[in-house]
């Protein structure tokens, strides 16, 4: 079969000693940034984007994928062992994982999350292998109107569905779109919002925005508000699972995987919904003493399921990224930026034009999962030591890496001032609960969406009716509108009918 031939070819490319080394360094670095608070995969990949100038595309994508993956493994270690809520992706793991750790079962929680991540990651990679080429084949048939609608869908879900407030999500999205406007217009070459500053003609580097919003803003938030936060660490125990733990974990892993994978495939992004769904499913299915453990001693299913769902979503999110060129999270948006640095535009043509790269990347996912299992089970004690790095040195050190990312991209000290400014923006956003993903997705996807919009309207000979005349784009438009309107309509209906009952 064709897919298998290409996959084997991918393994050959990914299996060269140099590429294996890149994968290993990526996985190790990813685990480290996952474990360290204050720095995540998006920041790490963004800081390292300057390497795209020198390292060849295949090696650096393998490296970045390792970081992307590794951070998922590492993040759960922190959420299980530290008693502070981490990022949203691991929040659900923290609920039961923390309880297990408190009752002396930290080792079992770590084991089930690492093995669960492996199982889910591998199954989801198989799904990517099987479905990505199919989706790509289908996506070739899409024209600019459909693409524009898909991007509109991504914008809507990233800003309006995720996060607490649609208003703040949309504001963040438009700020991102505004950042994306700076520089030369892609179609006419018209300079926009450059204010005569030559550095701005090239646009604002995604590295600056990502590193400023995540790393610098995080350090600023820490110094302003988190000085007095006392963190406590749970005691480690031997990393192993009993026969009973296995019996309870395996079905939870599989359920989590099948809940998580579909969420990654649709351009809707976010691991919050699938992880919460998986948690709810596990709690609903638990019986007797197992159910009693939820929220008290900590139930192992409550760690196994969401952790698997998380990894399955994150892996499957590569399908829309690779086949449609549509990122749905911070990290995938920055991965798209990495592709763009090589002049490669992910999309349906990617599988034919850069097939060697794509299949090496997919093969490296299988390899990376195995490496991560080894890195995270026997070596977990090593990563746990990272939790002991004192906060002041950690954040001050992050600023050094932020400098590398910001300066290394264009060798301009101007960018360091800009970095500070974007850090301030990120601080305000963090303080007032604005989500950051819409900014990054808006900034990267904005110019692409604008080009598709303008191409679409020229196809329609200047008429926007083109979006309504093509069935696929009309369907997508209806989906977008219902995502925005339905939840509000249901809420309005509920309050109205409960009001009627009360009266």
């Amino acid at each position: 079969m064709d897919i298998w031939n290409q996959l084997i070819q991918g393994f050959v490319t990914a299996g060269t000693p140099v590429n294996l080394l890149w994968a290993f360094v990526g996985c190790a670095l990813g685990t480290a940034v996952g474990v360290l608070p204050g720095i995540g995969p998006a920041t790490a990949v963004a800081m390292l984007l300057p390497i795209t100038a020198k390292v060849d595309a295949t090696a650096s994508m393998i490296f970045f994928a390792g970081i992307y993956y590794g951070a998922m493994y590492g993040g759960s270690t922190t959420s299980i062992l530290l008693n502070t809520p981490g990022e949203t992706a691991t929040m659900v793991t923290a609920m039961e994982g923390n309880k297990m750790a408190k009752s002396g079962r930290a080792g079992a929680a770590l084991a089930t999350s690492a093995i669960g991540s492996f199982v889910a990651g591998t199954i989801a990679t198989v799904l990517v292998t099987l479905f990505a080429p199919v989706v790509a084949e289908f996506a070739v048939k899409l024209g600019p109107p459909e693409y524009f609608m898909l991007m509109l869908l991504a914008f809507t879900t990233v800003s309006a569905v995720l996060g607490q407030s649609t208003l703040r999500g949309l504001t963040a999205l438009f700020v991102g779109l505004a950042l994306g406007l700076v520089g030369l217009d892609q179609i006419t070459g018209q300079a926009r919002y450059t204010g005569g500053v030559p550095e701005l003609l090239d646009g604002i580097e995604i590295v600056l925005v990502a590193v400023g919003l995540f790393a610098v803003a995080e350090a600023m938030h820490a110094v302003l508000f988190e000085g007095k936060v006392v963190e406590s660490e749970n005691r480690m125990s031997r990393v192993s699972m009993t026969r009973e733990d296995w019996r309870r974990s395996i079905p939870a892993w599989l359920r989590g995987t099948f809940i998580g994978a579909p969420f990654g495939c649709i351009p809707a992004g976010g691991t919050e919904i699938p992880t919460f769904l998986s948690y709810a499913a596990e709690k609903k299915l638990a019986k007797g003493p197992n159910l009693a453990e939820f929220g008290t001693k900590g139930a192992i299913e409550g760690v196994a399921g969401p952790e698997a769902a998380n990894n399955a979503t994150v892996t499957a999110a590569l399908i829309p990224l690779l086949t449609l060129g549509i990122p749905v999270s911070n990290t995938t948006a920055i991965l798209l930026g990495a592709f763009q640095n090589y002049g490669i535009q992910p999309g349906p043509q990617l599988f034919s034009s850069s097939s060697a790269l794509v299949w090496a990347l997919i093969a490296s996912l299988y390899i990376g999962n195995v490496m991560l299992l080894v890195l995270n089970l026997p070596l977990v004690g090593f990563w746990v030591k990272l939790l002991k790095v004192p906060k002041p040195q950690l954040y001050a050190g992050i600023l050094i890496f932020a400098t590398v990312g910001a300066y290394g991209m264009r060798q301009s000290a101007f960018d360091l001032f800009l970095l500070y400014g974007i850090g301030l923006l990120g601080l305000v956003m963090r303080r007032f609960n604005f989500p950051t993903a819409p900014v990054v997705v808006g900034m990267i996807l904005g110019p692409l969406a604008e080009a598709q919009l303008r191409n679409a309207i020229s196809i329609g000979e200047g008429s926007p009716m083109v979006f309504l005349q093509r069935p696929m784009s009309l369907t997508l438009l209806i989906v977008v509108i219902s995502i925005l309107v339905l939840p509000r309509a249901v809420k309005w209906w509920n309050t109205r009918s409960s009001g009627a009952k009360a009266a």
Binding site: S165, K228, K391, P392, L399, L416, L419, E450, R454
Partner: protein
Amino acid sequence: MTHDNRNASLLQGMVGLGVVALGLGLAIGAISIPAAAGYAGVGPNFLPWLVSLALVACGAFMLYEVRSGGFRHMDEGPPGEKPYWSGFVWLSAGMMVNAVLITTLGFIFSCAVCFVLAARGLRNSEGQATNGLKTWVRDGITGLLIAAPVYWMFTKFLAINLPGLTQTGWL
């Protein structure tokens, strides 16, 4: 209304105003972008106008939220009662000094200075005393120990240009 609440809505009001101001600023910039739509029907000024109007609308809606009880669906505020501004000034100073000095002092020393200043702010925010010379020296050495290998890794191994004090690529 308590003092804290009033303070919070004042800050939120400022955020709303800031968003409106950003939208207006973008609109002023959009005026000078030509419409030249050509065959496309929409020119390079279409998205700028859309974004400016949307931001003004979002900002206005935020102001409405502030007037009717504050931003909706907010997480609980940060645990520290008061922001610790003096630490923030140290950290900002570190970043500014780095931006100013990086081309003259070179990456390693400039980043070490940034590390020392930022670490001082962060230490103070945790309530650590940082008056003694010992902390300065220790942070200085830690900063150098982080910055130097990073510099070597990027310049020697990955061939990325970072400014040095000398042309050797080692310092």
